[in-house]
C-alpha cells in the first residue's frame, strides 16, 4: 500500500474525520506501519530501518472549529535522494485547512511590499528651482500673459506644483488578524495544491549541492524550494549545499511570511517547525486578550 502511495503525489484525506482521541487514526496508521516495515526490508537494505514516526497531536486546548476536516501529511526522509515515507503527522484544520482567502493573501502580499518602501523620488518646487525671483516683465503693456516668476509651474523649466517629495514613507499596518488569516490561508493553499512537504529534520548526508538538485528533481518539488526549520541556525551540510542555489532558501519558522511562501513554489517544513507554527497560530486565534491587538499600532509595541 505504501509503495503505491509513494509513487503518487496525492495527499490522503482519510475517511475518519474526527481528530481528538485519535486512537482510531493511530490504530489504522500503525497497522499500515507494520505493513510498511514488512514490505520495505526487502526494498533497500542500506538504509537503516526504524519504526515509522506516527505523530498525532494533542489539540485539547484548541479543539478545531471545523470538526469534519482532519488533515495529515507524510513525513519524508532527507538522508537519500529517493523519497521514502518515514511517518505521518497530524495537522490542525484551523491552520492547514482554513478557508483559502485569496483576497486576504493578496492584501498581505501588497502590505509586505509596501510597508517598508520609501520613495526617494524628489522634485523641486518653484521656491527651490534656481532663479525666478524677479518679475520677468511688467504687469501691463507687453501683450504677453502676466507672470511673477519664470520658475512658476506654468513655465518650462519651472518648479513642479504637486510633485513627489522625498523621502515619502508608505508605512501602514495591516490589521493583526488579517495577517494571521493570511498565514493560515497560505499554508492551507500550499497543502491543498500539493506544494507542502514535511521532513523529519534538515540533516543531509553531503555538502554537495548536486544532492539537493537531484532530490528536488527526483521528488518533483517545484523549481524553487523554501525550507523552514524551528531555529535560525541550520546544520552545516544543508547550508553549504544551498549556499550557491538562489532558488533554494532556508528560513527559521519565526520569519515565515506570505510573500516568501508564495515566491517559492514548494514549502518544506520540519516537524519542529510544524509544531511551532501550529502552536503560535492557534494561540493567536484563541488568545484571551485579543482586543489588545486592535487599536493604533505603536512602533515600540510588543
Amino acid at each position: 500500500m505504501l509503495k503505491l502511495l509513494n509513487k503518487t503525489k496525492q495527499l490522503v484525506y482519510p475517511a475518519i474525520r474526527s481528530i481528538s482521541n485519535n486512537s482510531s487514526v493511530l490504530a489504522s496508521a500503525q497497522q499500515s506501519n507494520e505493513a510498511v516495515e514488512s514490505s520495505d526490508t526487502s526494498a533497500s537494505p542500506e538504509i537503516p530501518q526504524r519504526p515509522a514516526l506516527i505523530l498525532p497531536q494533542n489539540y485539547a486546548e484548541y479543539t478545531p472549529v471545523n470538526k469534519n476536516s482532519a488533515r495529515q501529511a507524510w513525513i519524508e526522509n532527507t538522508d537519500a535522494v529517493k523519497e521514502r515515507k518515514v511517518g505521518i503527522i497530524e495537522l490542525h484544520p484551523d491552520v492547514f485547512a482554513a478557508q483559502p482567502r485569496v483576497d486576504i493573501i493578496q492584501e498581505n502580499i501588497e502590505w509586505q511590499r509596501k510597508y517598508r518602501y520609501v520613495s526617494f523620488a524628489h522634485t523641486k518646487t518653484r521656491a527651490e528651482v534656481r532663479g525666478g525671483g524677479r518679475k520677468p516683465w511688467p504687469q501691463k503693456g507687453g501683450g504677453r500673459a502676466r507672470h511673477g516668476s519664470i520658475r512658476s509651474p506654468l513655465f518650462k523649466g519651472g518648479g513642479i506644483a504637486h510633485g513627489p517629495r522625498s523621502p515619502t514613507t508608505h508605512f501602514y499596518m495591516l490589521p493583526f488578524y488579517k495577517r494571521v488569516l493570511g498565514l493560515t490561508s497560505t499554508l492551507s493553499v500550499k497543502l491543498a495544491q500539493d506544494d507542502f512537504h514535511v521532513i523529519e529534520n534538515v540533516d543531509i548526508p553531503t555538502r554537495d549541492e548536486q544532492f539537493i538538485k537531484d532530490l528536488i528533481a527526483e521528488r518533483n518539488w517545484g523549481p524553487s524550494v523554501l525550507i523552514v526549520d524551528k531555529n535560525d541556525i541550520f546544520p552545516e551540510n544543508i547550508c553549504y549545499a544551498t549556499d550557491n542555489l538562489g532558488y533554494v532558501n532556508l528560513m527559521p519558522s519565526f520569519s515565515l511570511n506570505t510573500y516568501s511562501m508564495l515566491k517559492h513554489d514548494t514549502l518544506v517544513l520540519t516537524i519542529d517547525a510544524v509544531k511551532h507554527l501550529e502552536e503560535r497560530l492557534l494561540y493567536q486565534l484563541h488568545r484571551n486578550d485579543a482586543a489588545k491587538t486592535g487599536g493604533k499600532f505603536k512602533l515600540d509595541q510588543v
Binding site: N68, S69, Q99, V102, Q193, D195
Partner: protein
C-alpha cells in the same frame, strides 16, 4: 458527516484543479482600489468639481465656523456652565448584571474567588481607562431578574436593587474606592509586576466621595460592618426575600474575604515586590 461540504473544503478541493497560487496570480477584491489619478477631460476633469470663479474655484475658502463677518456661534459664548468641573468628575463605566452572568456562564470569570477590577479586566472583555477619568465599574440593574450567582464582588458603585439582587443569591457586594495610580495598576496587574516597583498603598477617597463609601446602605468599604449587617436585613425585608446565612455557607471564607482600606490586591501587602520571572516575593523586613 459526509454530506456536509464546508466552504473551505469545497474551495480547497477546487484549488487542486486550478493553477498554483502565485504572486502574479493574485488580484485585489473588486472595487477595493480607488484610482488616485486626477480626472482629465469631461468626466472628473475640466473644473474638477470646483465650480466657477469665487472662493470655491480659487481654493480660498473661509475658515470653518466663519459666518461672513458677524460674531460666529463658536465665539459668542465665553463659557458654558455645563462643562464646569468636567475634569474632576469621576466616571464609572457600567457593567450590567446580565453581562456579569454571561461572563460567569462562559467561565470567563471564576466565581470561586473574589471579583474585583483586576478580575474583570483580566477576563479580556472589559477594559478600564483610568486616564479618561474612569474610576472603576458600576454594577447596573440590566438583567437583574435572571441573575443567579453567588459571588463576592467589589465594584465602585451599585444601586439598591443591584445590591439586593446580589445578596438575595447569597453573595456579598462591596463598594470601594481606588485612586488613579492604583486603578492603572489594577487594570493591568501583570504589566505592573513587570515594572519591578513595590506594591503601593491605596489612598483614601476624596472628600466628596467619603460620604458614599462610609455609608452602610451603599455597602461602602469604610462603613461599620455591624451597620452593614443591619442594612442587609433591611433590604431583605424591603425586597421580600429570605436573607441567606453566609455563616453556614461552605464558601464562607471566600465570601467574607475583604481587602483592607489601604490594600491593593487580595493577599498581598503594600511594600512587597513581586518577581514574576524567579517566582519570588521580596518583603521589607520588619524594623
Amino acid at each position: 458527516m459526509a454530506n456536509l461540504r464546508e466552504s473551505s473544503d469545497k474551495a480547497l478541493k477546487l484549488l487542486r484543479t486550478l493553477p498554483r497560487v502565485q504572486i502574479g496570480n493574485l488580484r485585489p477584491n473588486p472595487n477595493s482600489k480607488q484610482n488616485d489619478k486626477r480626472g482629465r477631460a469631461q468626466h472628473g476633469g475640466d473644473k474638477h468639481g470646483a465650480g466657477n470663479k469665487g472662493s470655491g474655484q480659487r481654493q480660498n475658502f473661509m475658515r470653518l465656523g466663519y459666518e461672513t463677518g458677524n460674531q460666529p456661534f463658536y465665539l459668542r459664548f465665553p463659557y458654558e456652565p455645563y462643562y464646569k468641573g468636567h475634569h474632576l468628575r469621576r466616571q464609572y463605566p457600567p457593567l450590567s448584571l446580565l453581562q456579569l452572568q454571561v461572563l460567569i456562564d462562559t467561565n470567563r470569570i471564576d466565581i470561586s474567588q473574589p471579583i474585583d477590577i483586576a478580575t474583570i479586566c483580566n477576563s479580556g472583555l472589559l477594559t478600564l481607562k483610568p486616564a479618561e477619568l474612569e474610576y472603576g465599574f458600576q454594577l447596573t440593574d440590566h438583567g437583574l431578574d435572571n441573575f443567579k450567582a453567588k459571588i463576592n464582588i467589589e465594584v465602585q458603585h451599585a444601586s439598591e436593587a443591584v445590591i439586593a439582587a446580589v445578596e438575595r443569591n447569597g453573595g456579598v457586594i462591596r463598594t470601594a474606592y481606588y485612586d488613579p495610580r492604583c486603578l492603572h495598576i489594577l487594570a493591568n496587574p501583570k504589566k505592573f509586576f513587570q515594572k519591578g516597583v513595590p506594591i503601593p498603598k491605596r489612598m483614601l477617597p476624596p472628600q466628596d466621595a467619603v460620604a458614599y463609601y462610609t455609608d452602610a446602605k451603599n455597602r461602602g468599604y469604610l462603613a461599620n460592618p455591624e451597620e452593614i449587617s443591619k442594612e442587609r436585613l433591611v433590604l431583605a425585608q424591603k425586597y421580600g426575600y429570605e436573607l441567606p446565612r453566609i455563616e453556614e455557607d461552605p464558601q464562607y471564607e471566600m465570601l467574607t474575604a475583604a481587602k483592607d482600606g489601604r490594600q491593593l490586591f487580595y493577599g498581598l501587602e503594600p511594600g512587597w515586590l513581586i518577581n514574576l520571572v524567579d517566582k519570588v516575593i521580596v518583603k521589607p523586613k520588619e524594623t
